[in-house]
Chain length 406, copies 2
């Protein structure tokens, strides 16, 4: 399994383009993805009760089970909380791209990311789609432009390609994402677009994507807020010309590994681009009664502002982690747990069998001064585990989010 | 109904003392409350799954239904995550005070607040109890010392007395609290102690206290974390010498109003003392389908770091409030809602019937520059409402919580 970070080596039949059409001041703000052949599609949407117009459109297409051929995305404006006109604009975007590429609008997914509550500058977008659809290309640069076109406050593009063999033939799975957590004001969305030339059915792919998203994107936190526009889309066009991947087969597990690899990488990149983040934190809960329990505890810890500020302050303040575990809605026996903090320069045990340990503050500081910290909590009460990832809460976070519009 | 803020006028038969016994460096760290006569008791404890030893003890006493005579509290050490020895120490505190006051230990509630995971300096505390129990007094100064003795990182005491008439006789209800939200590191607890000479049964009082706490302390947020030691205790000794308060009677409603007044005041004082807070925010959800729905939305908004930083930045960023409402777990129709921000200098409408309004940024800034801001969201879809209160998230918050132990 060959992993190439920071760029896309296009799976067979996939094209992309990204450009600046004037929604944002300077940065690219329109991206189009296209497959020359019909694609099976899978998608996961935000759990936020307030879903922006493009999500409702995509969900309708997904539920219909029809083949998909393209995705059009604008950044700079989320087309969220825009009422009926928002829905009209979403369909217009699909129709515009369909017209250019000789497709039906029902073959086109739509995404928008940016400010909430403002009407989309639809004329700019229609014109932009017409001007750019002819420039669709398969090379690395075209995909790089596309990766830029979906960004909002991100400081770098997030791209990865994984190459592997199925049934003796080369297959690619590649992905691009945007998002710095739910960090910047109204510009908060997490978007991820994945493309593969594997031969895989929609239902199987949907099941695998859901599971993979739960273990990756859904286990990261910058500040715990979720957006109205979050989505992950996976398109598969079968152009590796292999047999179809069957459930529980060897090929299934190879593909799942590739999918998890990509989603985990993109999720980590989002955390690392978290606004104002100075540290990358991994929370690992071991020996829980169930994976669900372990996940809840991981998330409570990684979402806690008190935990985040403690890491920013390089303070081995395990009491805050324990208090967060306490309100996670999971029963556990504190008297059995071990806690240790770990980084590249070493590790330090803080709690052993529920007993607070005396520890060397200098050594703790040395460990916590590193950029990447692991907090490992062994509950010693079951066989399940989970990991979650997040960043610290810094002055810079408050600054960026307090001063955004003013 | 006469309200006296910032001091206690002791209800008949209640005594207090507060002093420095050496757990903390300089500030008072031991408080004793005492009633000359048997008290009915009501109490509400933290929902955190991890309950400190004193809470377990108090819960046992409460469940037994026996009369209560005193409360002993130390600050500086939470006696949380301290295992078996923690339980032994809690009982020791109750026993020490019982010995001094000629009570049974089962008549003594115990509370601790401060650092998590450290063994209590029990010898200091035993000695402190012996030295101080003789100094119990009924005057304002004694209660002021007591109010100081329960503080941790608070910058001021929180006290209030309400006087009213029941059955033609004067009755008092008074309370003291501590807590700057769940703000300072391991020193985060919210404690509230209420005393009345009203004649009221335990069960009725428990029901009223629970309801009042749900609408007051449970609707405030500094950073959304909850502590292992939070508790609210209400003692009633009937020494106003009136008939007993009956459910749904006129006296019931008078007493409830006094109780709500006290709890709301103390909750607001806690928010105003929130570490690093520069603004006091009230979120008011109107016309929801149910009170439960309205509460969930209020809390999601007031707990959001993005909302908090927006208020710190004096930014009329309603999209963040709406996004938080979206993940509150409540269904609502955005197309019907109105949003306005309000302060002493005026108000500004931001959303009308789900439509984003053009607004004057200068006027918005003028309103948001005030210290106390109200965000009023009218859902226009039901008859229930709720309010929640919180503070902004400032540089100072990050500084205090990042630098606490180092």
């Amino acid at each position: 399994m060959k992993v190439t970070e920071e760029k896309i080596i296009a799976p067979n039949g996939f094209y992309a383009v990204g450009s600046h059409i004037g929604i944002k001041r300077k940065r690219k703000d329109l991206t189009i993805y296209y497959s020359k052949h019909d694609c099976n599609a899978a998608a996961v949407f935000t759990r936020n009760a307030l879903k922006a117009a493009p999500l409702l459109w995509n969900k309708k297409l997904l539920d219909s089970g029809d083949k998909i051929r393209a995705i059009v995305i604008n950044s700079g404006n989320a087309n969220a909380c825009t009422g009926e006109i928002g829905k009209v604009h979403t369909e217009q975007m699909a129709q515009d791209l369909a017209d250019c590429l000789n497709l039906k609008k029902e073959e086109v997914f739509v995404a928008s990311t940016g400010i909430i509550g403002q009407v989309l500058p639809i004329d700019l977008i229609s014109k932009g789609i017409q001007e750019n659809s002819a420039a669709l290309a398969q090379d690395e640069d075209a995909f790089n432009d596309a990766a830029e076109g979906i960004l909002t406050t991100d400081t770098f593009t997030k791209q990865i390609t994984v190459e592997f063999e199925l049934f003796g033939k080369p297959v690619k799975l590649a992905g691009q994402a945007k998002g710095s957590g739910m960090i910047h004001p109204n510009m908060a969305t997490m978007l991820s677009f994945l493309f593969t030339d594997a031969n895989i059915g929609s239902n199987l792919m949907q099941e695998m994507l859901k599971e993979s998203v739960d273990d990756t994107y859904n286990m990261i936190s910058v500040d715990g807020d979720t957006s109205t526009n979050d989505m992950v889309i996976l398109l598969a066009n079968a152009k590796s010309d292999t047999s179809e991947i069957m459930p529980d087969s060897k090929e299934y597990y190879i593909f799942k590994e590739a999918l998890d690899k990509i989603n985990r990488y993109l999720a980590m990149q989002i955390i690392k681009d978290g606004e104002g983040a100075t540290k990358f934190i991994e929370v690992h809960i071991k020996s829980a009664h169930s994976k669900e329990d372990a996940k809840k505890m991981c998330k409570a810890i990684i979402n806690s502002s008190l935990v985040k500020t403690a890491f920013f302050g390089e303070d081995a303040n395990w009491g805050r982690l324990v208090a967060a575990m306490g309100y996670a809605g999971v029963k556990f026996d504190f008297d059995k747990i071990n806690i240790l903090f770990k980084s590249d320069v070493g590790e330090i045990a803080l709690v052993d069998n529920g007993k607070s340990l005396e520890f060397n503050e200098d050594k703790a500081l040395e460990i916590l001064e590193e950029k990447e910290i692991k907090a490992i909590i062994d509950l010693n009460q079951g066989n399940a585990e989970a990991k979650a990832w997040g960043c610290d809460l810094s002055y810079e976070y408050v600054k960026i989010n307090g001063e955004y519009r003013s």
